[in-house]
């Protein structure tokens, strides 16, 4: 009998808890009308950033992000011109295989690539997930960022164009890129 009473009490307790919540306001939001403010670090789509003054892409075509990408979603083609400088010809990201890990953003030393807190880019067509340079730049224009590049107009732009190795397509060995990376890490 005591057990029966206890059971009834506990059944009623459960009802009290759900009943109590009945009067509360919902914690969810109505999505398309209301929107969550994304945290500034949120890793949404990858965008290419442009220089705030000139409006040109910050990307120097150094291919660090392409090497860092674990799924090979980034394709860059930046052949060297006459003056041994890389000219960015092609920059595409396949969002179908991008895993949004943020390694490209960390690898970049020139504030050229960033994961912006935007997330609405679903399409019905798989081919539309293949974004080219123009589209990435277009979206990246609205993205705010802190320019941490060294403000040495000529030298700063030149530096990435001449990697330490003389060889054209040879991989920069772990050491050299690593040092650059480490410097950046140290600043954080």
């Amino acid at each position: 009998m005591a057990k029966l009473l206890k059971d009834i009490k506990n059944l009623l307790l459960g009802m009290c808890i759900t009943g109590k919540h009945l009067g509360r306001h919902a914690v969810t939001i109505q999505y398309p009308e209301e929107r969550w403010t994304m945290p500034e670090r949120s890793r949404g789509i990858v965008v290419l950033l442009s220089d705030k003054e000139t409006g040109e892409l910050n990307c120097t075509g150094c291919m660090l992000c392409m090497r860092a990408c674990p799924t090979a979603a980034i394709q860059i083609d930046a052949p060297r011109g006459e003056d041994k400088k890389r000219r960015l010809k092609l920059f595409t990201i396949d969002f179908g295989i991008c895993c949004f890990c943020g390694l490209c953003e960390e690898a970049c030393n020139f504030c050229a690539i960033k994961m912006a807190p935007m997330y609405e880019f679903s399409t019905v067509n798989k081919d539309d997930l293949f974004w080219d340079m123009k589209k990435l730049q277009e979206i990246g224009r609205d993205v705010d960022y802190v320019d941490t590049r060294k403000k040495k107009p000529a030298a700063g732009a030149d530096k990435p164009a001449t990697p330490p190795q003389a060889g054209e397509n040879k991989n920069p060995e772990g050491g050299t890129t690593g040092e650059k990376q480490d410097k950046k890490e140290g600043e954080v």
Partner: protein, 367 residues
């Protein structure tokens, strides 16, 4: 007269079934409602993570291994980073260790909150699921604020963590764990003493301690059988030996105890997070590790206590920048292996309860 002729029949539970937590297929031989034989078929979520890792650099492996067990992907980051750090002899800065512990424990709480909701949902109570997820959301927001992602964090890296916490993290984290501590009363009031919950769980799916150990069941499911074995305490990794917490243990080994152990663990994790927030030192958050670093040749097996049991990573390095072989071990693997042993003889409803209480998630099994 030989009586009524009866016949056993086979039911395919899965691959698409509401209570198989992903895509697991259990082939049940049933005698009416009673389960006579269980044969699990897995591999529907096999993504060949181990093969993929063989041709990625160590830094690139981390986001791939995130997908190994996506409910607690901080642990996946941690177990791989631990192994790689052991291989290369990297010292992790103090602050990074504290941040790791905070994140791991928050993720454990998040995972157990999912367990709470999903188990209740498998047994027919739909509301606890939403309550569990509501509190989990606060933790996920903390993660997103810190590392930018809600599910696959890629936060714990080889040599430290990817980013320092923002300054509003600590107050918000304290608020979140305070809320969870508060809401635990609601959770317990809804289910703990509910007579229907009791009859559904008490005495169901008894897992004897020797069977559990023999089958390699680990984590909360093992501790519910009375084996006080917690890697955070017994094989300390990171800085877990600095914190004061109790190993949650229960002795009956049934579904109800497995449920209670996880609720207890939430409380213990809250304690750890509290202490870690108090002791959080200043300093660097990442050791200097090149993205293309080459650990010396060797092999190492590291293991950590995940919310689903022992999670392990075996790395064999041949001295190049890519791991030669990565083998991952997840707690769910062994827990699914033991389902046919303890599920036989019960009703199909018991099997659902057992499956839920072992907290099996399929990506960890299939890899």
């Amino acid at each position: 007269m030989g009586g009524l002729r009866t016949e056993e029949f086979i039911v395919n539970m899965g691959p698409q079934h509401p209570s198989t937590h992903g895509v697991c297929r259990l082939m049940l031989t049933m005698d009416g409602e009673k389960v006579v034989k269980i044969e699990p078929f897995i591999g529907y979520l096999h993504r060949a993570i181990e093969k993929i890792c063989e041709n990625r650099t160590y830094a690139q492996c981390v986001p791939i291994i995130d997908r190994f067990e996506y409910v607690t992907s901080m642990s996946c980051n941690q177990v791989f980073s631990l192994a790689a750090e052991k291989l290369a002899g990297i010292e992790v800065p103090e602050r990074a260790e504290y941040l790791r512990v905070i994140m791991l424990e928050l993720n454990r709480i998040a995972s157990h909150l999912i367990f709470y909701g999903v188990t209740a949902m498998d047994l027919g109570a739909l509301t606890p699921f939403l309550y569990g997820l509501r509190e989990r959301e606060m933790i996920i927001d903390l993660f997103e604020m810190t590392c930018g992602q809600r599910l696959t964090y890629n936060y714990i890296r080889i040599g430290g963590v990817s980013r320092d916490i923002p300054k509003e993290f600590v107050p918000q984290c304290r608020k979140a764990i305070e809320t969870i501590r508060d809401k635990l009363n609601d959770y317990e009031g809804l289910l703990n003493e509910n007579p229907i919950w009791l009859v559904r769980n008490k005495g169901v799916g008894y897992l004897a301690p020797d069977v559990a150990i023999a089958y390699g069941v680990s984590g909360p499911s093992l501790r519910a059988s009375g084996v006080k074995y917690d890697l955070r305490r017994d094989d300390p990794y990171s800085i877990y030996d600095r914190f004061d917490f109790d190993v949650a243990v229960r002795y009956n080994g049934d579904c109800y105890d497995r449920y209670l152990v996880r609720l207890d663990e939430i409380k213990q994790s809250i304690r750890i997070v509290d202490q870690a927030l108090d002791g959080l030192p200043e300093g660097p958050i990442r050791a200097k590790v090149s993205p293309n670093f080459k650990p010396p040749a060797g092999e190492v097996y590291s293991r950590i206590e995940n919310s689903r049991g022992e999670m392990g990573a075996y790395i064999l390095s041949d001295g190049s920048k890519k791991p030669f072989r990565v083998k991952l071990r997840g707690g769910s693997y062994n827990q699914l292996e033991v389902v046919p042993v303890i599920g036989v003889g019960g009703l199909i409803a018991d099997l659902v309860a057992i499956f839920a209480s072992l907290d099996v998630i399929m990506p960890e099994v299939d890899r």
